[in-house]
Amino acid sequence: MFWVGIGHAGTLISAILYLFRAGFRTTIYRCAEAMTVFAIMTAGLFPILHLGRPWKFFWLIPYPNWRLIWPQFKSPLVWDVFAILTYLTVSATFLYLGLLPDFAAIRDRERDPLRKRIYGVLSFGWRNSDLEWRHFARAYLFLAAFSTPLVLSVHSTVSFDFAMANTPGWHATLFAPYFVAGAIFSGIGMVFTIIIPIRRWFNLKHYVTLNHLDAAAKLCLFTALVVATAYITEFFIGWYGGNEIEHSFWYNRVFGQWWWAAWIMLTCNTILPLTLFWQKLRRNTTWLFTLSLFINLGMWFERFVIFDPSLSHEFEPWQWTRYAPTYIDWAILLGSFGWFAMWFLLFIKNFPVVAIAEIKEIIPPPLRVAHAVEGIDVAGMHLEYEPETPGERD
């Protein structure tokens, strides 16, 4: 759930902001998209690990097996399989499609014959012709249009895994929007964690500008406020709903057995992001990076708080119990971060982390005759060069 959530910001930035024509996405979306694909790959391991009989995971996929057994399509677990597999496939396709022209650019500049051959195969013989660009633009738009409802539906479907169960703290109609907002919020946190070091180490300050980070920080602040609203609504309904079981559960979650986890979550996800109301902090990369670590921590604890307090404080007192992670649990958690980091580092080593073709699209093209209106090219598109911006705190 943590890793699926991480992936959502990538699709939001690459697809939804593409449809909204938000210019700040251009320089950060490639990293965010790659993060999405690797996060879903990581997330996909966990259901298999938790099945108990992991070698039978394919029983969830509908196919005419020899016993003629089919999955139960009314089960949220089956919806989850369809949602996650679709999300992985579409995200990977979307990422690869955007990479095609960039692979072609690398292929044409590469001098090593083997690498040139590899990038030639990866680019599928892309040639930047008007025919290819015309169909590419349309296909990219349609994939963005498909990805937009998909990103909203996937975490809604994940939330149904909980909301369909009659368990205190889970059985709520709020869960779908609450999960989607939380997923996007956690993903933006991870985008900052990834993009800020890359921007510094690869010296990409003139591509990933402070204005871009500022805009992304505003998005982060907005989703933090949505998440905070969801938390407050949950608490309010727990108190106002008149259900003694829910009331007891919520008290236990916030002030009882799990108070420490709940308050880590609340501090990291609702209080610290409020600092983004200040422009100086939105443009301070050190603070953005630090805050992103807190957001990652807070969103991990959000999932911990969703799982453990509910399962350890169900309807009957004999069901009330404790939970402490074993060293295997910690190893699986650390291993998932290692798996994710391995794929991401391989990606940034071999593939362009900034969308080359899209950057070329927004910079003014070379012209023989300067346009009459200063600062605007014949295409009517001009991205002003951003000089050293005051407030840089690297």
Binding site: F82, H135, A139, L143, S147
Partner: protein, 166 residues
């Protein structure tokens, strides 16, 4: 397949050259640019992309299949609960939606590949590696007797290099 390829450094020079070559009616024109440019698209006036048809058909097929398979399985192995109708369309809408997105997206990419004629095994004639970097290119597929006219027109409008290829 033979013709003339011209390499340009500036966008406005490319636009002027394409307009002039179109007037010559010497043959099919293919324009290369490092990034999509609306000026070139408008000039070539090629109409809307047919990729949308693949998307529509793929999406409809996916949505239909997404309803059909759970309904068929429900009837094949009925689990009767409280006399309710066995196929339950509300949860099946989730399957239908996911398959609509999945098959629609894959059909879109298939459509892009088919209509753009990729994957391409060889780079074929009329392409230069500079076209993916910062330069623009114009390829005019024309018979030998028109090649001089085309070549002169491209040079006149600012081509930094013009060569015949076959």
């Amino acid at each position: 397949m033979e013709g003339i390829v011209g390499v340009f450094r500036e966008l406005d020079a490319t636009v002027d050259a394409v307009a002039a070559v179109k007037k010559l009616k010497a043959g099919d024109i293919r324009v290369y640019s490092p990034a999509p440019r609306h000026e070139l698209e408008h000039l070539l006036n090629t109409g809307p992309s047919v990729v949308r048809r693949y998307t529509l058909i793929g999406g409809l097929l996916g949505a239909t299949f997404g309803y059909w398979i759970p309904i068929w399985i429900s009837d094949y192995w009925p689990l009767v609960v409280g006399g309710k109708v066995v196929p339950s369309w509300v949860p099946y809408t989730i399957i239908s939606f996911e398959l609509m997105v999945l098959i629609g997206s894959l059909a879109t990419v298939l459509g892009l590949f088919v209509v753009s004629r990729i994957p391409r095994i060889t780079m074929t004639v009329g392409y230069d590696e500079r076209f993916s970097n910062a330069n623009f290119g114009v390829w005019v597929e024309c018979p030998p007797d028109r090649q001089t006219d085309v070549s002169d027109t491209l040079k006149k409008h600012g081509a930094v290099e013009v060569r015949g290829e076959r």
